[in-house]
């Protein structure tokens, strides 16, 4: 039997000790976030913070009630950004990848290379012209300015093209011969058949949108009502740095969807994401 299959007693003891130490160090900030929101700030201002007992909902209520950085509109903005970017990435990537794989598209290779090239442009490199451009389009005060530059994704096209290429060609031919049009084939056969890649792109795009920071920070400097939860966290920290309970309650609110996705969606993410790179 290989060593990998059955570790010796000494090895497994060492493993547990190391993992326990690492867990204490790496997960303490997570524990502090999740528990701290249910504590009065006075318990958190001690050294070390007192995480046991005295739980209360006051910090959550304070976080919701305070008006300096309203969290409910920020939540709606974050939801809008996450969902819009997710849906837009799925639609634009699926259609483009379909044209690149199944349609007789002229200039197929140059177009694909152009789309691929956009992956290596860090968006911070073009954030200045983009912010001037979006402002000049007159979207400055609308929610759309939060998502406009991010509706298409070179990575999304790349990921779905890889998945579509692995779809059996005979099935495509059979569907066409049965009179199945392109749209019906795409939505009823191809997309369900490429579920791992679709799931990975869905999770990845939502996380990207929800956790985006630089762009909303720029957009919301001129207009507070465009704060997302991520920029609201920064604004809260500037306003309420003496109230760690309130800060942690606010952060926990921003973490709810992402924690759920990371815990329950991680398998899809890895399977679809690393299919090409990790084999």
């Amino acid at each position: 039997m290989s060593k990998l299959n059955r570790p010796s007693a000494a090895t497994s003891t060492l493993t547990y000790v190391w993992l326990a130490v690492a867990a204490v160090v790496l997960l303490f900030p997570v524990l502090l976030t999740l528990v701290g929101g249910f504590l009065p700030s006075s318990a958190l201002l001690r050294q070390p913070p007192d995480l046991i007992g005295g739980y209360t909902l006051d910090s959550y209520l304070d976080a919701i009630r305070q008006v300096a950085v309203p969290l409910f509109p920020a939540f709606l903005n974050s939801l809008f950004v996450g969902v819009t970017i997710m849906v837009a990435h799925l639609v634009t990537s699926a259609l483009a990848a379909y044209a690149l794989v199944f349609l007789r598209t002229p200039l197929k290779t140059p177009l694909f290379l152009l789309i691929l090239a956009t992956i290596m442009v860090p968006y911070e490199a073009i954030v200045v012209p983009n912010s001037l451009f979006v402002r000049s389009l007159g979207f400055g005060d609308s929610r759309f300015s939060l998502v406009l530059p991010f509706l298409a994704s070179g990575f999304g096209v790349f990921l779905l093209r890889q998945a579509f290429r692995q779809f059996p060609g005979e099935l495509k031919d059979a569907a066409t011969i049965d009179g199945c049009g392109h749209l019906r084939f795409l939505f009823t056969i191809l997309l369900p058949g490429c579920r791992p890649a679709i799931a990975a792109l869905t999770v990845w795009s939502f996380l990207q949108g929800w956790n985006m920071y630089f762009w909303p920070l720029i957009v919301s400097t001129t207009n507070d009502s465009l704060n997302t939860l991520q920029t609201a966290v920064f604004a809260l920290r500037s306003n309420e740095s003496a109230a760690p309970g309130l800060l942690l309650a606010g952060i926990t609110i921003t973490l709810v969807p992402t924690l759920l996705l990371v815990v329950f969606g991680q398998r899809w993410l890895v399977r679809g994401f690393t299919a090409g790179a990790v084999k």
Partner: protein, 324 residues
């Protein structure tokens, strides 16, 4: 018109399924005839992605160059042509410092942000009870946005409440000024980034380890391969695609980090956490600086770094990485 005599060429598509499917060639030519109607569809399908990427990724490269050669008035509108003045400003010691901080930050994040998850993923790949629970727990930092992680870690290192300082005091070590000492601030900010990337990197490396060929591992073990050498000469080469993937994504994440230095230290103290992306933010958007020209020039430097990294990535992926 049709080289193969099979289905009759009519203007309307045949209502019945083509019977020539078993021959292969018949169905192929039928499919080919459908192709004539594909061009409009292809244009419609490609338009959203090409427009989105063209307008907001490729097109802005031109105004970026334009802006980099112009001055800016007080609200940031481009003014007269200033030639290469902004690029000359990139040759100053100040910008050299920014590049140095970016390099140091990226190196710390990539080295520690890959080694730490690797040191967790390898023991986690053993068949022991509880490993799945541990693995799920270790991925949790992946859920944090830059600003959320930065604010939580500010509480972790605040001298008044820091649990880290408390532990250090117990063992008799005086804690440094994590975010206030200019020798430590960059390390602190990089450490927070390591924590943020460790979750996703652990996921990828664990997937790589789970996909290992058990027979090869057993053969190596039977041949007496064990311990560190077993890991370095058998396991590591076999998971090199995962390691490489993680190195590339972590490098890009590190290069593009804004929230950690901006929220935790605001580029300070004394500019010691001013990285390239922080500097772009600072020149263009911080305190209404509106120095769009210099920020655009710095953006072009970031673009060149991104393209160089991509080139290295393609070069390495072809030659060095072991694929089955």
């Amino acid at each position: 018109m049709t080289r193969h005599a099979s289905p009759p060429s009519t203007a309307a598509p045949p209502v019945e399924p083509v019977p020539g499917a078993e021959s292969g060639t018949g169905s192929r030519s039928y499919l080919r005839r459908l192709g004539g109607r594909e061009l409009p569809l292809a244009v419609v399908f490609l338009a959203p992605a090409v427009l989105g990427l063209g307008l907001f990724v490729i097109f802005p490269l031109f105004p970026a160059v334009f802006l980099a050669t112009r001055g800016s008035d007080i609200i940031g509108s481009p003014t007269r042509y200033v030639g290469l003045r902004h690029f000359a400003e990139l040759l100053t010691p100040e910008f050299g410092q920014v590049l140095w901080h970016t390099l140091a930050f990226t190196l710390i994040v990539v080295v520690a942000g890959v080694l730490l998850p690797l040191a967790l993923a390898v023991p986690l790949s053993q068949r022991l009870p509880g490993m799945r629970v541990f693995r799920s727990l270790f991925t949790l930092p992946f859920a944090y946005s830059a600003s959320a992680a930065a604010v939580v870690w500010l509480l972790m290192v605040d001298p008044g409440t820091s649990p880290i300082n408390w532990v250090l005091r117990l063992v008799g070590i005086a804690a440094p000024g994590w975010t206030t000492d200019s020798n430590w601030a960059l390390v602190t900010v990089a450490g927070v980034t390591v924590w943020m990337v460790s979750g996703f990197n652990l996921l990828v490396l664990s997937a790589g380890l789970a996909g290992l060929d058990e027979e090869v591992l057993e053969a190596a073990t039977l041949d007496g391969s064990a311990g560190v050498r077993h890991f370095l000469s058998v396991v590591l080469p076999m998971i090199s695609p995962s390691v490489f993937f993680v190195v590339v994504t972590t490098t890009l994440t590190a290069l593009q980090s804004l929230g950690q230095p901006q929220v935790m230290t605001d580029g300070g103290p004394n500019g010691s956490t001013s990285t390239l992306v922080y500097s772009i933010f600072n020149q263009a958007f911080h305190n209404n600086n509106s120095n769009y020209g210099l920020a655009s020039a710095q953006g072009l430097v970031l673009l060149i770094i991104g393209v160089l990294l991509a080139a290295v990535q393609f070069g390495v992926i072809e030659r060095r990485v072991h694929y089955r």
